[in-house]
Point group: C2
Chain length 340, copies 2
DNA sequence: TAACCTTACGAAAACGTTTGCGTGTGGATA
DNA sequence: TATCCACACGCAAACGTTTTCGTAAGGTTA
C-alpha cells in the first residue's frame, strides 16, 4: 500500500531540490524545460496531488465553506445546500456540511471544529435549541475571529451579519389571502411555538391577513404545536369540534397531517376544507391531493447566501463592514388542496 | 477584528517559548505550576483553540470521515448520514458530507479533494453516472493511497473493500411475496434501468418470488424507467391498458406516482390495486393511503458503515487486509396501500 | 569546593507547501 | 583573459503544532 507521494519524495527520486519540483510543477520559467518535463512526467506517474492541509496551513485559508443546518433529513435545507454548492463550486470553493440535529451543543461543537481550521466562513441556520436558549456566543466568537457568517432561514436578529431570509410574514399573508379570496371564512392555523422565529412570523402574517379582511382572529383557531414528531394527535384533537373551512399550516408536515386527520374524520380536501402549506417539498408535490403551498425557493436562498459569503471572503480586508439582509420572494404554488 | 490567537502569540505575550506554552496547556509536569496557570489563564482569556489544520499536518490524520452520496435531497441517504454521525461523534470523528449529484465528474472532484488532506477515510455510495461508466479509478486510487473506503447501498462488486448493503433481492422478494400472499396474481413492477445495481437486484428478487409461486413473469408487466424525474407519463402509459391487481415499485417515488396515476384513472388503492414500495421515507409514511414498504434501515446502514471504517482507521497497519460485506436485514412495513 | 542531580525551560525538527533570494556554472563580451 | 550576465537551481523561512533532547540555574551531596 503505497503512501501518498509528496514533493520531497519526488525531489529525492529525481535528485533535485523540493523547490525545483514545486516550481517545475507550476511551469516556472526558472526551471529548464528539460527538468520541468521530467518532473511532470514523474508526478503524473506517481499521481502526485498537492496536500491540501499543507496548503491551507500555508495560505491560511481553506477554500472551503462550512454549512451547518439543524436537520439533514429535511428537504428544504437540502435544497438550500444545493444552491450553496452551485455557487461554491463555480468559485472554486468546497462545501462541507454538518448537522446540528437541532442541538445547541452539537451546533457549538461543529462550529468550533470547522472554525479551527476547516472552513473560511459559514452559512448557517441555527438549531431550535439555540433559538430557545438565546445563547449565541459561539457564533459571535467565530465572527470576532474574522470568519464571516451568513445566517439563513432561522436567523437571529441580534446578530450583526449577513442574512438571507424569506419574508415569512408576507408569505403567510399571501397564503391566508389566497384562502380568503376563495371565500373561506373560518381559517385555522397550525403553527409552531413562538420561540421558533419563522413560526412566529408566519403566525403574525396570518393575523395580519385576517385583519386586512376585517375578520377577527379567534384564539381557538390557532394551534401552536410543540412536539412536531407527534403532531397528529394534537391536530386531531384540535380539529375535533371545529367547523373550519380552511387550514393554513406553517410547514409541510402539519399540512399533510391535517389532511390525513380530515380524511379520517370523513372530510374532503379541498371540497370541505382547503389547505395551504408552507415549503415546497416532496410531500406537497406528491401528496394526493397535491398541496397548494408557499415556496421558499430554497435553492435561491442557498445561492444568495453563498454569494454573500464569498463576497466577504474575497473582499478587501479593511473595507468598512457592511451587512446585508437579503429577502427572497416567496411564491404561491396553486395545486389541488385548495378549491378553485 | 482580532485574529485567531496562536501559541506563538501567547508565547510572545508571556515572554516564554512556544514549547513552554504548548506543554503548559497540556499540563506537562515539565512546566512549573506557576507558569502553567499563567499560560492557561491567558489562553482562556484569549479563547485559544489549537489550529486543526496544523494538527492534521503534524499528525497526518484529520479525524474526519468523508461521506459522499449521490443526492443530498434524498431521505434515505440522509438517514444513513445520521447513522454515520452517531458513531463518528462517539468515537471523536467529524463527518463531512459532499454530494456528487449523481455526476461522475463531481464524484471524482469531491473524492480527490477530500482525499488530499481533508479526510482519513470514506463512506460512499456511487453516483449513477459512475455505475454507468464503470470507471472506478478514482476510488481505486484513493484506496491504493492507503485510505480506507466503505461502500454502501450503490456498491461496486469489482471493488475490493468493505461494503454495507441490504439484500435488495431478498427485500424485493419479500415485497412480492407479500402481494402474492394477499392473493394478488397480476403483479407489475416499476423498476429502474439495469445499470442501477439496486434496481436490477430488486427486479431479480421480484422474478424469483414469482417463480417460487409458479407464476410466469410477463415482460409487459415490467417497466424499466429511465428518466426518474418524469416517471409520471411513463407510468401512466404503462398502466393504461393493464389490468393489474398489484404493483411493486422499487422506490418511493414510483410508488406514489403509481398511486397518483391509478387515482386519476379511477382505480382505488388498495381496493383495486395493492402497492408495495421500497425505502421507508417521508412520502411512504404520510401518503394517503400510507404505503406498505420495505424498510432499508438507513440509519443502521450508516452505523455499520461508520464502524467498519473506523475499525480500519484505527486498526493495526500491517494486519493482513480483510474486507467484510455487511448485509442489513430489510423489513416489511405493512401500512394501508395493501389490502388485508 | 567539586561533582552531581533536579527543576524548568528553550531550541529545533518535523508535517508538506510556496516563494523570494542567493549562487554556482557556463558562455558571451570587451 | 578578465568581467559580466543569463540560466538553472538550491536554501531557507513561513504557516501552527507537538515532542525530543539539550542545558542553565540552583540546590544537594561527598
Amino acid at each position: 500500500m503505497k503512501q501518498k507521494v509528496t514533493l520531497k519524495q519526488i525531489a529525492k527520486e529525481l535528485d533535485v531540490s523540493i523547490s525545483t519540483v514545486s516550481k517545475a510543477l507550476k511551469d516556472s520559467v526558472e526551471i529548464s524545460l528539460d527538468t520541468r518535463q521530467k518532473v511532470k512526467a514523474f508526478a503524473k506517474l506517481y499521481n502526485y496531488k498537492p496536500n491540501n492541509i499543507a496548503l491551507s496551513l500555508k495560505n491560511r485559508k481553506t477554500k472551503t465553506i462550512g454549512v451547518i443546518i439543524p436537520e439533514i433529513v429535511h428537504h428544504f435545507f437540502t435544497t438550500v445546500i444545493g444552491g450553496v454548492e452551485k455557487v461554491a463550486n463555480e468559485k472554486g470553493y468546497n462545501v462541507i456540511i454538518c448537522s446540528s440535529n437541532n442541538s445547541f451543543d452539537k451546533e457549538v461543537i461543529n462550529l468550533e471544529m470547522l472554525a479551527s481550521g476547516s472552513a473560511d466562513g459559514f452559512i448557517l441556520s441555527v438549531a431550535k435549541e439555540t433559538q430557545q436558549k438565546k445563547d449565541y456566543h459561539h457564533i459571535e466568537e467565530t465572527m470576532s475571529q474574522g470568519m464571516p457568517v451568513v445566517l439563513f432561514d432561522r436567523i437571529i436578529d441580534e446578530l450583526v451579519c449577513d442574512k438571507v431570509i424569506i419574508d415569512d410574514g408576507k408569505g403567510a399573508q399571501t397564503a391566508t389571502n389566497h384562502l380568503l379570496s376563495l371565500g373561506c371564512k373560518k381559517i385555522a392555523i397550525l403553527t409552531t411555538v413562538d420561540y421558533i422565529s419563522v413560526g412566529k412570523l408566519r403566525t403574525n402574517g396570518y393575523l395580519r391577513a385576517l385583519r386586512a379582511y376585517d375578520i377577527t382572529a379567534r384564539e381557538d383557531y390557532i394551534l401552536k404545536i410543540e412536539d412536531i414528531d407527534n403532531c397528529e394527535s394534537e391536530i386531531s384533537d384540535f380539529l375535533e369540534d371545529k367547523d373550519v373551512d380552511a387550514i393554513f399550516a406553517v410547514n409541510e408536515l402539519f399540512a399533510v397531517t391535517a389532511a390525513r386527520v380530515l380524511n379520517e374524520k370523513g372530510k374532503k380536501v379541498p371540497e370541505d376544507v382547503s389547505i395551504v402549506g408552507f415549503t415546497d417539498g416532496i410531500l406537497s408535490k406528491h401528496f394526493i391531493p397535491s398541496l397548494t403551498t408557499i415556496s421558499q425557493h430554497g435553492e435561491e436562498m442557498g445561492i444568495r447566501a453563498a454569494k454573500l459569503l464569498i463576497d466577504k471572503l474575497e473582499g478587501e480586508e479593511d473595507v468598512p463592514e457592511e451587512y446585508k439582509t437579503v429577502i427572497i420572494d416567496t411564491s404561491l404554488i396553486q395545486r389541488q388542496s385548495t378549491k378553485k
